[in-house]
C-alpha cells in the first residue's frame, strides 16, 4: 500500500500492525494461545462430525424401509411399535406441556411482578438441571406405584412434560420480553384489557420465538431415555392408545438394549433407531435455526 504522509503512516502502524514492536516471547505466546484455542474448537467439531458420520454410516447400511411397517420380534423385526410409541408419548407430553408452558411464560412476562418473575425464572433453571433419571424415578414412585397406573403412556408423558416445561416457559418469556413496550401501550390505549392485548397483539411478533421453544423441547423429548425407563416400560406391540396400565415401546430403548445383544440383527435395529432419531432431531434443529433467522431473536440457547 502507498503511504502518502508521515501521519497516515503512524496511523497505519498502530491500526494494522500493532504487534510490530512486541517482544518475540509475547508474540509467540499469543500465537500459541490462539493456536491451542483453534485446536480445541477443531477437536470439538471433529468429534461431533465423527459421531454423526459413524451413526449415519451404520444407520444407512442397516436401515430397511420395511422396519417402518413391522414390529419388533425378539431380537429382530422392525421398529414400528417403537416409532408409534415414541410419537404417542411425546404427543401426550406436548399436549400438556405446550399450554402450561406458554401460559406460564406469558404470565411471567406480562402480568407477574418482577420479584415473582425472577424467582420463577431461577427455579425453572434449577428444575432444568434435575437429572432426568430422577424425574423418571419420581414419576415411578408417585404415579406408577403410588397411584397404581403401572408402566403407561400417561406416566411417561408426564415425566417428559417435566423435562420439556423449562424450555417452553423460558423461551416464551424471553421472546415476549423482546416485544417492544409501545405495542402493549398502543393496545391498552385502544381500550383492550391486558389479556386482549396479549391474545390479539403482543403474541404476533413473538410467535416465532415461542414456536422455536416448543420445537426445541420436542427434539429434547424425542431423544430422552432415562425418564422413560421407569415410566413407559417396553412393549413389542404397537401402542393400544390406552393412557394407563399398558406398556409402550420407544426408540431410545431399542438403541441401548439392542446394542448390548450379541446378534447382528439386534445391532441393525439399534443402529437404525439411532439413525432415525438423529435425522429427525437434526431436521428439527435446522428448522429452529431457520425460524430464528426469519423471525429474529427467538429462543436463547437454553441448555
Amino acid at each position: 500500500m502507498s503511504v502518502k504522509s508521515p501521519e497516515t503512516a503512524v496511523v497505519f502502524s498502530t491500526g494494522k500492525d500493532r504487534s510490530v514492536g512486541l517482544p518475540r516471547r509475547r508474540r509467540l505466546s499469543s500465537y500459541f494461545g490462539w493456536g491451542l484455542a483453534w485446536a480445541c474448537a477443531g477437536l470439538v467439531v471433529s468429534a461431533l462430525l465423527d459421531l454423526l458420520v459413524t451413526v449415519v454410516m451404520k444407520g444407512v447400511t442397516s436401515f430397511r424401509w420395511d422396519m417402518l411397517t413391522t414390529v419388533t420380534h425378539g431380537i429382530a423385526g422392525g421398529l414400528q411399535n417403537a416409532i408409534l410409541g415414541t410419537l404417542w408419548i411425546v404427543g401426550i407430553a406436548i399436549v400438556m406441556a405446550a399450554p402450561v408452558g406458554i401460559l406460564g411464560g406469558v404470565y411471567l412476562s406480562e402480568f407477574a411482578r418482577s420479584g415473582w418473575a425472577r424467582t420463577v425464572r431461577f427455579w425453572t433453571e434449577v428444575l432444568s438441571g434435575v437429572p432426568s433419571i430422577v424425574v423418571g424415578y419420581f414419576i415411578y414412585l408417585l404415579l406408577v406405584l403410588g397411584l397404581g397406573w403401572g408402566f403407561s403412556a400417561l406416566a411417561a408423558g408426564i415425566a417428559l412434560l417435566i423435562i420439556m416445561l423449562p424450555y417452553i416457559v423460558s423461551s416464551t418469556e424471553s421472546t415476549l420480553r423482546q416485544v417492544p413496550w409501545s405495542l402493549r401501550e398502543g393496545a391498552w390505549a385502544l381500550g383492550l384489557t391486558r389479556f386482549q392485548a396479549v391474545s390479539r397483539v403482543v403474541w404476533r411478533p413473538a410467535a416465532g420465538g415461542i414456536a422455536t421453544g416448543v420445537l426445541t423441547s420436542i427434539a429434547v423429548a424425542l431423544g430422552e431415555t432415562a425418564p422413560l425407563l421407569y415410566t413407559a416400560g417396553w412393549s413389542a406391540y404397537n401402542p393400544d392408545w390406552h393412557l394407563t396400565h399398558s406398556q409402550v415401546g420407544y426408540l431410545t430403548y431399542v438403541v441401548w438394549t439392542y446394542i448390548e445383544q450379541p446378534y447382528p440383527e439386534a445391532h441393525a435395529l439399534a443402529y437404525s433407531a439411532a439413525f432415525l432419531l438423529l435425522v429427525v432431531i437434526l431436521c428439527i434443529h435446522i428448522l429452529v435455526r431457520m425460524l430464528v433467522r426469519r423471525w429474529g431473536g427467538g429462543a436463547k440457547s437454553h441448555l
Binding site: 402480568f111 408417585l142 443402529y271
Partner: protein
C-alpha cells in the same frame, strides 16, 4: 328501550365479560407459572419420602459401605430397625458415589479448558457466517440424544481407549498411581469421563461464550490500546472479568455430568461392589445404577430395593440441585454486575 340504550348495555356487558376473561386468564396463567416450582418441590418431597425406610435401615452406612446386595429375595423377610427387608440385604452406595464423582471430575478436567478456549474462538475470533455455523454445530452437539453418545462410545471411543489411548497412558505414566494397569476392553472410568466431557462441552461453551460477549467492548479496546495482543486481552482482561460466571458455567457442566445416565450406563462397564482400582476400571454412577436396577425394584417383595433406589435418587438430586444453585447464582451475578456497570457498548 331505545336503540342507543340497548347498544350501551351491550357494550357494558361485553366489557364486563372481557374483564372476567382477563381475570380468569390471569388466574390460570398464574397457576401455570407456578408449575416449575410446584414440580420441583414435589420431586424433592416424593423422592425423600420414598427414601425414608432405606435411610432408617442403612443409616450412614449407605454412603460408607461398598456392598450393594439385594439379599435373599426368595427367603423370609427380616425386620431390622423397624423396617422390613430381605434377609442379608445391604445397600451401600459408596461405589456409585465414587464413580459419579470420579467420572465427572475427569470430564471437567478435559471439558473446561477445551470449552473455554472454544468459547473464546466463538466470541472473538470468528464472525459472520462462520460464527453462526460454529455456534450451530456446538448447539447441535448439545441436542444429540445421550443414547447416541453412548452408541458412539461403544462403537468408536471404547475400542480406541482399550487399544491405543489406555495402553499409551499406562506406558508413559504407569509409574503414577492409578494411571497404570491394563486398559481391558476400554469400557470403564476413562471412557465414561471422555464421553461425559464431550456431552458437557457444549453447555460450558455456550455459557462462557455468552459471558465473554457481555464483556464491555471498551475494556477490550482499552487493553488493545495499551498494546496488549488479543490473546493477552483474553487472558488479562476478559477472563478475570467473567471469572465468577466461569465458575458458574463449570458448576453447571458438573451438575449435568453427575446426572447423566444413559451414556455412562452404556460405556461405564457396570461395576458392582468394587471401587475403581485404576483409570480403566469399570464403574457405575448413581444415575446409571438407578437405571440398571429396574429389575430388582420390580422383584423385591418388601419394596426395600425401591426405597434404596429412592435414597440414591435423593442423594443425586441434592448433589445436582446444590451445584445448580451455586452455578446459577454465580452466572447471574456476572450478568447483573456487567449490566449495572452501564458501560456496555
Amino acid at each position: 328501550m331505545s336503540q342507543r340504550k340497548r347498544g350501551e348495555m351491550h357494550v357494558m356487558s361485553q366489557r364486563r365479560a372481557s374483564r372476567w376473561a382477563d381475570i380468569g386468564f390471569r388466574g390460570v396463567a398464574a397457576v401455570c407459572s407456578a408449575m416449575p416450582l410446584v414440580v420441583l418441590a414435589a420431586i424433592l418431597a416424593v423422592v425423600v419420602a420414598g427414601a425414608m425406610p432405606s435411610i432408617r435401615y442403612m443409616g450412614w452406612r449407605f454412603i460408607t459401605d461398598i456392598t450393594w446386595n439385594l439379599g435373599n429375595l426368595y427367603g423370609a423377610i427380616s425386620v431390622h430397625g423397624g423396617v422390613r427387608a430381605p434377609a442379608g440385604a445391604s445397600y451401600g452406595a459408596l461405589v456409585f458415589l465414587v464413580g459419579t464423582l470420579a467420572s465427572s471430575a475427569i470430564a471437567l478436567v478435559i471439558a473446561v479448558p477445551v470449552s473455554v478456549l472454544t468459547a473464546a474462538v466463538l466470541a472473538y475470533q470468528v464472525r459472520g457466517p462462520l460464527q453462526s455455523l460454529l455456534s450451530f454445530l456446538v448447539e447441535l452437539l448439545a441436542g444429540i440424544p445421550s443414547v447416541v453418545f453412548g452408541l458412539w462410545g461403544i462403537l468408536v471411543l471404547a475400542p480406541w481407549v482399550g487399544s491405543q489411548l489406555g495402553p499409551g497412558i499406562a506406558h508413559l505414566f504407569g509409574w503414577v498411581p492409578f494411571l497404570g494397569g491394563s486398559a481391558g476392553t476400554g469400557l470403564g472410568l476413562l471412557t465414561s469421563g471422555l464421553v461425559l466431557a464431550l456431552m458437557i462441552t457444549p453447555i460450558i461453551t455456550a455459557a462462557v461464550r455468552d459471558l465473554l460477549m457481555q464483556v464491555p467492548r471498551l475494556y477490550r479496546e482499552g487493553g488493545i490500546g495499551l498494546g496488549l495482543t488479543s490473546w493477552e486481552v483474553l487472558r488479562h482482561v476478559c477472563l478475570p472479568i467473567v471469572r465468577e460466571g466461569l465458575i458458574g458455567a463449570v458448576a453447571l457442566g458438573w451438575g449435568r455430568a453427575m446426572g447423566e445416565t444413559m451414556a455412562v450406563l452404556m460405556v461405564g462397564g457396570s461395576a458392582l461392589n468394587q471401587l475403581p482400582q485404576n483409570l480403566y476400571s469399570p464403574i457405575s454412577t448413581m444415575a446409571a445404577v438407578i437405571a440398571n436396577q429396574l429389575d430388582s425394584a420390580l422383584t423385591d417383595a418388601s419394596h426395600m430395593a425401591v426405597h434404596a433406589l429412592a435414597e440414591l435418587a435423593a442423594l443425586l438430586l441434592v448433589l445436582t440441585v446444590v451445584t445448580n444453585l451455586v452455578a446459577r447464582l454465580l452466572v447471574h451475578r456476572v450478568g447483573w454486575t456487567a449490566g449495572a456497570r452501564g458501560v456496555r457498548v
